[in-house]
């Protein structure tokens, strides 16, 4: 009898310590501007909303690899961005990183990740050289899922020169605004036109009346708006009796900008886009986001690119199944079958192309009856 009890006890112990397969956890580092200038926070929070929804959807599929999202706020500060990326590499041992809003911050930490052989999916930063400066390094660890400034500007200029004779530009004095201004000037020159007026404004200004007087007096029919405070340009129009068409950065598609500027004033504003809300899939995503985040959801195209960046990264992690940066990079470059919400193709990357969006995926959107729709021209 004692032997039976002993056997039963041993069996019980063995039963409890029997083979248990621990689920592998991979840390995905996320760096975004979640405090600081309001425009930066709008970008950062919207992209993160998309990422989080993508993670929720990924987890609903019962993946074999668990994902731990490690999110840091870079406060739109390049030094802090570099410091949190170093923390992600050294302390958190994240084998893959997503981020951030300010192009200057990405350009500051991308070389560190490239040297450490850790893949970066940049976004929602849009400066053109983010991927191009690394693509010749074999292999490049720098990818991006976001708008690309060059494609956005080219689309606007192609339409602009076709539709208007006189084009003006208001840009901010930040690095972003100045670089955009140079790209616009060069692009227009290549199309045989020149800006009739070019005006700048510091990031913290409250009134663009002097700049808009210059636009009006130069007879600008189209004013390109590349200032981070997207709403400021509309304010002096009523007092100056001047109603040019406004076109610019994809930021102009934010629901927050529409709310501040007003439905009437923003009607007809044109911007770079990569999400067509006429597409049923995009529409369904938009409705889901509204339900999920309520009034905090304010930027469909940003959220969609955050969602797609998340989808791509989580799918890659699932495929590799372990914290191996080099294997993750290779899998990322080869990823296929992405069911993107934005215009991102099913196979976004190749050894010579590390952008989710290429020139043909960027189109122009226009505010019409309270919604951004595809501009036909």
């Amino acid at each position: 009898m004692r032997k039976i009890w002993a056997a039963a006890a041993i069996a019980g112990v063995l039963g409890t310590v029997g083979p248990v397969y621990a689920q592998e956890t991979v840390k995905v580092g996320v760096v975004l501007g979640l405090s600081g200038p309001p425009a930066i926070v709008d970008f950062g929070e919207s992209y993160l909303q998309g990422l989080k929804l993508a993670l929720k959807d990924h987890e609903a599929k019962n993946p074999k690899t668990k994902i731990d999202l490690v999110v840091y706020d870079d406060e739109a500060n390049p030094q802090r961005a570099v410091s949190v990326v170093q923390r992600l590499i050294q302390n958190d041992r994240a084998p893959i990183v997503i981020g951030t809003v300010s192009s200057g911050n990405v350009l500051a930490f991308a070389p560190i990740l490239q040297r450490a052989s850790i893949p970066l999916v940049a976004g929602p930063a849009i400066a053109t050289p983010i991927t191009t400066q690394f693509i010749d390094q074999k292999p490049s660890f720098i990818f991006r899922c976001s708008m690309v400034e060059k494609f956005q500007i080219e689309a606007i200029l192609d339409w602009g020169v076709k539709t208007f004779k006189k084009i003006g530009l208001v840009h901010s004095t930040t690095g972003y605004g100045s670089v955009s201004a140079k790209e616009i000037e060069a692009g227009l020159k290549a199309r045989g036109q020149e800006l009739v007026a070019i005006e700048a404004a510091a990031p913290g200004v409250n009134d663009l009346t002097p700049q808009m007087i210059k636009m009006r007096d130069a007879g600008a029919e189209l004013v390109l708006n590349f200032h981070e405070s997207f709403e400021l340009i509309y304010r002096p129009m009523a007092r100056l009796n001047y109603r040019p068409v406004i076109a610019g950065n994809w930021g102009l598609s934010s629901l927050k900008v529409e709310q501040i500027v007003g439905k009437e004033a923003i009607e007809g504003t044109v911007m770079g886009q990569a999400l067509d809300l006429a597409d049923p899939k995009a529409k369904a995503f938009d409705e889901r986001m509204r339900k999920e985040y309520g009034k905090d959801y304010r930027w469909p195209v940003l959220a969609s690119l955050g969602y797609d960046a998340g989808q791509i990264v989580f799918k890659t992690v699932e495929k590799v199944g372990k914290s191996d940066p080099k294997a993750l990079r290779d899998a990322l470059e080869a990823i296929d079958g992405v069911d993107a919400v934005s215009e991102t193709p099913a196979k976004p990357f190749s050894p010579t192309d590390h952008e989710c969006l290429d020139k043909e995926h960027v189109f122009l959107g226009v505010w019409k009856d309270g919604q951004v729709v595809r501009l036909k021209y």
């Binding site: 009134d207 002097p210 405070s229 304010r298």
Partner: protein
């Protein structure tokens, strides 16, 4: 440059200058009585703008909104004196002479974070105060002026006049000067020194409240908007001289006008020129344009 452009720039400069004047006035009155400055004066304005937005969007009529804003800002001014200034006075020299810089700047940071928690970090829509839409422009001789701008210019002039009368013609005004001159002697003469100090902080805060109530539809309202106003109010107070209420009005309007014209002539550095002009002015007239050079006997 056409004449109508000159007038347009003048008007928008005067309107912005009026906001700077009201903010600088808050700095001035607190400094006058206590030799302390509220480094969060611009953030008090920001709180005024947010409280206005919150109440307006709830459908509260504008006059009641103003009353609400003044109550909130009055309490904030009292709180600032009670918790950020008075404890330092009690501690005396142990805290060093400038600990109030830290406590007032700290209070400003707390306000920014509280506003972020309640309203979020994004810029906010500010409903118009005097009309249904935000395009309530009055055209005078080809120059377009927003009704809110007219209001803020009028308020700046009224407040300057009221302050002038208050400081030089009333018992409370004399009490402020007495406290500024010598708190101990003022106390011996029966002046309520503590009450006077509380009064100036509440008054400074109410000024920020009035500005905040009016500026919402004119500027970009966000939790970090205050710092720019604080910095420019310092510049304005330096031009006007920290002890002259009329000088502040002249300094504020001058600063706003120079800013509008410098943005017209060179928008890349438009915000820089007025500040450089202030630096040059202070190099030659350290007491400002309107203040007399006299030994400070306080």
């Amino acid at each position: 440059m056409t004449l109508s452009n000159v007038f347009q720039l003048l008007m928008s400069g005067i309107a912005v200058g009026a906001i700077y004047t009201l903010t600088a006035k808050g700095l001035f009155i607190a400094h006058l009585a206590t030799h302390r400055l509220n480094f969060g004066q611009g953030d008090f304005l920001m709180v005024g703008a947010y409280v206005t937005i919150g109440l307006m969007l709830l459908g509260v009529p504008a006059p009641l909104v103003l009353v609400g804003v003044l109550i909130v800002l009055g309490l904030l001014g009292w709180g600032l004196e009670r918790f950020a200034i008075r404890p330092l006075d009690r501690a005396g020299d142990q805290t060093g002479g400038y600990a109030w810089v830290l406590t007032t700047a700290g209070a400003a940071l707390i306000l920014q974070n509280v506003v972020e928690l309640i309203w979020g970090k994004a810029a906010q829509y500010a409903p118009p105060i005097f009309s249904a839409t935000r395009n309530n422009v009055v055209h005078i001789g080809g120059v377009g002026i927003f009704v809110e701008e007219l209001a803020i210019i009028a308020v700046a002039f009224v407040v300057v006049t009221a302050f002038y009368l208050f400081l030089f013609r009333t018992r409370w005004g004399k009490a402020i000067y007495a406290v500024a001159f010598n708190p101990e002697a003022a106390a011996l003469l029966g002046v309520n020194v503590r009450g006077t100090v509380v009064l100036v902080f509440v008054l400074a805060s109410l000024l920020a409240g009035i500005s905040g109530f009016l500026v919402g539809p004119l500027v970009s309202v966000n939790p970090h908007m205050g710092l720019v106003f604080t910095i420019k109010a310092f510049a304005v107070a330096s031009i006007g001289g920290f002890s002259n209420p009329v000088g502040l009005l002249a300094g504020g309007l001058l600063f706003g006008i120079v800013e509008a014209f410098s943005n017209y002539f060179d928008s890349s550095f438009g915000d820089l020129y007025p500040l450089i002009a202030v630096l040059i002015l202070l190099a030659f007239r350290p007491t400002g344009l309107f203040s007399t050079r006299a030994a400070d006997v306080r």
